[in-house]
């Protein structure tokens, strides 16, 4: 809200759009790595994928901080400062969720991840691609918000699908798994994956708010 008065009369500072787009690309790369990692089950391969995902997580962190630093020193921003801050930090949260999932797989070392886990990872990738498309819309959605609105709807649907996959899986797990340590491992890994799909939808909510405020 702070610079809404000035922003009507001064040129916008466009650098935030490519910075956010780059952050969403780190997210997509990280999601792809996670999905790929689930087809490899040896401790050594798991450790290797975790290192690569961790490297992406650090990249995401640095990119988010680059955005925060710019926010701290730029007088004119295309949206309110807090909106750009929330966008960057919520996209970074999705990257963190992917990292936490890979970390648990690495340190818990469960039996091979089944089809439900792979489905959740695929939903995370689809959400990441959706967010990346949404970043392309940021510069121009004021004129036509329909594409950005479409991204938000898809994010919401993907998250609902993830909920269903997760709930069905956990119900069966508690009915069938008798090895309690194996149950702990897979339950917590699936929970982390599901939380990651949630955090992607949270970005969608922030985008929806942007449409209400600016379009």
């Amino acid at each position: 809200m702070k610079n809404s008065f000035f922003s009507r009369f001064t040129p916008k500072e466009p650098k935030f759009f490519p910075l956010l787009k780059q952050l969403s690309e780190i997210l997509t790369e990280s999601a792809h790595l996670l999905e790929e990692s689930l087809t490899h089950d040896s401790p050594a391969e798991r450790a290797d994928y975790y290192q690569r995902i961790k490297a992406k997580e650090r990249e995401g962190d640095e990119q988010a901080h680059r955005i925060f630093d710019e926010l701290g020193t730029t007088f004119i921003t295309p949206f309110d400062r807090e909106d750009i801050h929330d966008l960057a930090s919520s996209i970074d949260d999705v990257i963190d969720g992917i990292n936490s999932s890979a970390k648990r797989i690495n340190i818990y070392n469960p039996r091979p991840i089944g089809s439900s886990g792979k489905e959740l990872a695929s939903l995370i990738t689809q959400e990441a691609l959706c967010l990346s498309e949404a970043m392309d819309q940021l510069e121009d959605f004021r004129k036509d918000p329909s594409k950005l609105r479409g991204c938000c709807t898809r994010l919401h649907d993907l998250e609902n699908q993830a909920d269903d996959v997760y709930e069905l899986f956990i119900t069966h797990l508690f009915e069938e798994e008798k090895d309690s340590i194996e149950l702990i491992k897979i339950k917590e890994i699936m929970h982390e994956l599901e939380k990651t799909t949630d955090s992607a939808e949270r970005v969608g909510k922030i985008l929806r708010n942007l449409i209400v405020k600016y379009a």
Copy 2:
């Protein structure tokens, strides 16, 4: 803080009060459903209550977004925008906590929930009623904040009671429960219930800040 200057000279926009009150009523309905659900133990009944609580959770989400949308488009708000935002989103968090509790009961399907679980659910209902009363005070507490302050004190006491119930229960659980899968189920359900009582107190902290700022 942003509109404190203007707000001294312009009429307040009163629509936020009924919107927040409605949100607190969704919370109360949701808390009642949770409490009632604990007297039903079959998987089918648990699934049914979870569906009803999930419907409330969506209603709460929509109501919170209605409030956020209004905030994005209304120039004058009775308090600072961020205060109304925090109130709505923290009440929504309590509804989310109730939903997560019901979800875990449904998908974990533990043995019948004992008296400590019922006590926590009853404390959540009492907190919800307290918050609903607090919403009635929002319009006029500037003149006399004593009733609103009373709500905050009660919320704090209810949360302390919940802490004691939870801690005593978990201590006994780890001393006595030898079935590790059953232990996991009930431990996590109780933890979710306890976190929900915490989130209700967090609303109380926001209300306390409002008194300091505006009364």
Copy 3:
């Protein structure tokens, strides 16, 4: 950002610095108690340390609220209101994490905490001391931010060390512990300790942002 215009021409309100320093001292005391508690293994001693740590947690809560109350009623603050708010509430989160760790030790009553747990507690103490030093820098870092920057770097390093200790420990735990209830206990206690080291680093990130904005 709000008072950056005025703050160039009016005297700063210095009371926030000692208030934040006091909060960091409550954190340090709390960290020392946690570290000390791990050398005592009987249920009675654990309960006693938890009570003392809980008392510190309440002190921290009150101190944070004192700061929030001041923020609500002071027109001029040395930084933006939200920065002081974030600092106080993030330091309070570290104190809360210490309290949650002590609570779990008390109510889960696991076997004696091993060397990795003690290492995490020691890292929390080192982070607390680091934050306390950082509070001494708040008044003057605009002239020379190098010392404050050094604190941020050390916090980051301490958190990385904690990550390594935690990950190695959990990997071994899942390889070796066959008692699933004991595994649950220690896994969750270690997780809480590790999250506490994370929350200390989060204060470091806020401090880093302050340097970017003000130095």
